[in-house]
C-alpha cells in the first residue's frame, strides 16, 4: 500500500527481520511450491504409467504418429530458453539491467516459439482425427478405442504443460515490466530468481514428457 522509499530497493516486508531471511523464505517457498507441482503432474504420470503398462502395443503405435523431429527441435527450443533464463538470473545477480531485459525477452520469445510449435502439432493431430472423442479415427487393431487413452493423456499432459508455460510467459512479462521500472539490483533480484526456478521446472516436466510421449517404442516390433 504505502511504499516506503528507503526499503523499496530491498523490498523488505515487515514480517521479516532481514533481507537474507526474506530471500531464504522466498526460495524455500518456491521450492516447496515446485514440489506441489511435481505431485500435480505426478498424478498424470501415474495414469500414464498404468495405461502404458496395460496397453504397451497400443501406446507404441499411437506414439509413432507423433512427429519426433518436431518434438526434438521443440525440446531444443525449450532448453535454449532455460539457458537464456539462467543468463537472465545471472545478469540479475550482477545487477545488469539491460542484460536482464535482453535475456528475459529472449526467453519469452523462445517460450512463445515452443507454444507455437506445440499449437502446430495439436493442429496436426486435429487434421488427422486424433483428438479423442466421437470424431476420433485410427486404423489398426484395437487402436480406435484404446489409442484414445494415449491421446487423452497426450493432450492432458501437454495441455497442462502448455498452461504452465503460459503462466511462465505472464511472469516473464511482469518481470520485464518490473526490470524496466528499475526494481531490481544485485541486492534484490529474488523475483527473477524465483521465476527462473519456475521456468526451469516447467522445462524439466517437458524433458520427461518428450521421451514418454514421443520416443518409447518408437521402433516398435
Amino acid at each position: 500500500m504505502v511504499s516506503e522509499p528507503h526499503v523499496e530497493s530491498l523490498a523488505l516486508r515487515e514480517q521479516f527481520n532481514s533481507a537474507e531471511q526474506q530471500k531464504d523464505a522466498s526460495s524455500l517457498g518456491m521450492w516447496v511450491f515446485l514440489i506441489t507441482e511435481v505431485m500435480f503432474f505426478g498424478g498424470a504420470f501415474a495414469a500414464y504409467t498404468v495405461y502404458r503398462s496395460i496397453y504397451p502395443g497400443v501406446f507404441g503405435a499411437a506414439s509413432r504418429t507423433l512427429n519426433t523431429t518436431i518434438g526434438a527441435l521443440n525440446t531444443a527450443v525449450l532448453l535454449c530458453s532455460s539457458f537464456t533464463m539462467v543468463l537472465a538470473v545471472r545478469a540479475g545477480q550482477l545487477g545488469r539491467r539491460k542484460q536482464i531485459m535482453a535475456f528475459l525477452v529472449l526467453t519469452l520469445i523462445l517460450g512463445m516459439v515452443f507454444l507455437g510449435v506445440k499449437g502446430y502439432e495439436w493442429n496436426e493431430k486435429y487434421v488427422e482425427h486424433h483428438i479423442p472423442g466421437p470424431s476420433f479415427q485410427m486404423e489398426g487393431p484395437g487402436l480406435q478405442d484404446h489409442a484414445q487413452l494415449f491421446f487423452s493423456l497426450y493432450f492432458a499432459m501437454t495441455g497442462l504443460h502448455a498452461m504452465h508455460m503460459l503462466v511462465g510467459a505472464g511472469l516473464l512479462s511482469w518481470l520485464l515490466y518490473q526490470t524496466w521500472r528499475g526494481k531490481f539490483s544485485a541486492a534484490y533480484y529474488t523475483p527473477i530468481d524465483m521465476v527462473g526456478l519456475y521456468w526451469h521446472f516447467v522445462d524439466i516436466i517437458w524433458i520427461f514428457l518428450f521421451p514418454l510421449l514421443y520416443l518409447i517404442d518408437r521402433h516398435g516390433h
Binding site: 502395443g57 487393431p141 484395437g142 478405442d145
Partner: protein, 323 residues
C-alpha cells in the same frame, strides 16, 4: 420388528471372520479399558487442589516408549497375518465350485445359472456346496454384499471380479449393493435362498426348462459366425477353442496367459490385446455386438468344449498354428 445385535453366520467363512473380530474386539476392549481407567484414575487422584500447584516435571522414559510401541506392533502384526490368511481363503475359490454368473446394472442384479436358470435380485443356491460368482457390471461400480456370508466384492464395469462362498445354513439372506451406484442404490438388493440339495435340484428342474447357458452360448457362437475362423479341427485362421479353458496359452510376445473367464472376455471384446502365438491379429472386436450376458454365455460354451479327452496337451490345442 426383529432386532439383533449380531449377524447370523451362514457361510463357511463367517465363523472365521467372527473369531478374528472377537480377537480384535478383545484387544480393543483391553486398550480402551486401560486408557479410560488410567485417565479417570489420574484425573481424580491428581486433581488440582490449589491454583498455584506446580508438579514436578517428568520428561519421559525410553523403556516405557519402547514397551508401548513394541507390544501394539506385535499385536498388530498378529492382526495382519490372521486377517490376510482369512482374506486369502475368502478370495480364492476352490476348483469344484458351482459357477454362477452375475451381471449388475442400475439397479438390479441379473444372475445366471449354468443350467440356464436366470434370476433377478434373487439367487438360489444349495447348502454345503462352494459357489463361485463371476461378476461384471453394465454401467457403474456396484458391490455384491451378503452380510450373513461376511463376503463382499465390488462389481466393476469392463472386467470380471470373482467371489465365492459355501453356505452352511439353509435360509433366506439379504443381498445388498454396497457400492453407491446412483438414485436407487438402496433398492438394489435382493435375497439369497440357501436350500437343501434336494430342494435345490427340485428348484432347478422346476423352473422354465429352456436351454443351458452353454447351449445359448453355442447359438450365439453360431449366430456371430465365430466358427468360420475358430474351426474345431485346428485349420481355421483363429485358434481352435476345444479344451482351451483353464489351460495356459502361449502368446505371440512370448508370454503365457491362463485361459480364464477374464482372458476369454478380453479376447472377445479386445481381440488385439493378446495374440496367440502363430496367429495374425485378424479378429474384429465384438464390443457393442455382444452384451455382457452374451459374453458370459460364450464363456460357458467355451468351457463346455473342453477338455478334449483325445488331445490332452494344452499347448497343441491352443496354438496348433505355431507348429
Amino acid at each position: 420388528m426383529s432386532f439383533r445385535l449380531f449377524p447370523v453366520e451362514a457361510s463357511s467363512i463367517s465363523a472365521e471372520v467372527d473369531q478374528l473380530l472377537f480377537f480384535l474386539l478383545a484387544v480393543a476392549a483391553f486398550f480402551t479399558v486401560v486408557i479410560f481407567a488410567a485417565i479417570l484414575f489420574f484425573a481424580i487422584r491428581y486433581r488440582r487442589r490449589s491454583d498455584n500447584e506446580l508438579p514436578r516435571p517428568i520428561h519421559g522414559s525410553i523403556p516405557l516408549e519402547i514397551v508401548w510401541s513394541v507390544i501394539p506392533f506385535g499385536l498388530s502384526m498378529v492382526m495382519f497375518t490372521w486377517g490376510a490368511s482369512v482374506f486369502f481363503r475368502e478370495r480364492r475359490p476352490p476348483d469344484n465350485a458351482l459357477p454362477i454368473y452375475v451381471v449388475a446394472k442400475q439397479w438390479m442384479w441379473k444372475l445366471q445359472h449354468p443350467e440356464g436358470q436366470r434370476e433377478i435380485n434373487e439367487l438360489h443356491i444349495p447348502v454345503g456346496r462352494p459357489v463361485k460368482l463371476t461378476m461384471t457390471s453394465e454401467d457403474v461400480i456396484h458391490s455384491f454384499f451378503v452380510p450373513a456370508f461376511r463376503t463382499k466384492q465390488d462389481v466393476v464395469p469392463g472386467r470380471y471380479t470373482t467371489t465365492w462362498f459355501t453356505a452352511i445354513k439353509p435360509g433366506k439372506y439379504h443381498l445388498f449393493c454396497a457400492e453407491y451406484c446412483g438414485n436407487n442404490h438402496s433398492g438394489m438388493g435382493g435375497w439369497i435362498y440357501v436350500m437343501e440339495p434336494q430342494d435345490y435340484e427340485a428348484w432347478l428342474s422346476g423352473g422354465t426348462p429352456g436351454a443351458t447357458l452353454a447351449e445359448n452360448g453355442q447359438k450365439l457362437f453360431e449366430n456371430l459366425a465365430c466358427a468360420n475362423c475358430h474351426k474345431s479341427d485346428g485349420t481355421g485362421r483363429c485358434p481352435d477353442l476345444t479344451g482351451l479353458f483353464g489351460k495356459d496359452v502361449k502368446l505371440a510376445d512370448g508370454s503365457t496367459v491362463k485361459a480364464d473367464e477374464g482372458y476369454i472376455r478380453e479376447s472377445i471384446l479386445r481381440p488385439e490385446a493378446k495374440i496367440v502365438a502363430g496367429y495374425q491379429p485378424s479378429m474384429p472386436t465384438f464390443q457393442g455386438l455382444v452384451t455382457e450376458e452374451g459374453v458370459l454365455q460364450l464363456i460357458e460354451y467355451v468351457k463346455s468344449l473342453g477338455p478334449n479327452p483325445g488331445a490332452g496337451q494344452a499347448e497343441g490345442l491352443a496354438a496348433p498354428g505355431s507348429r
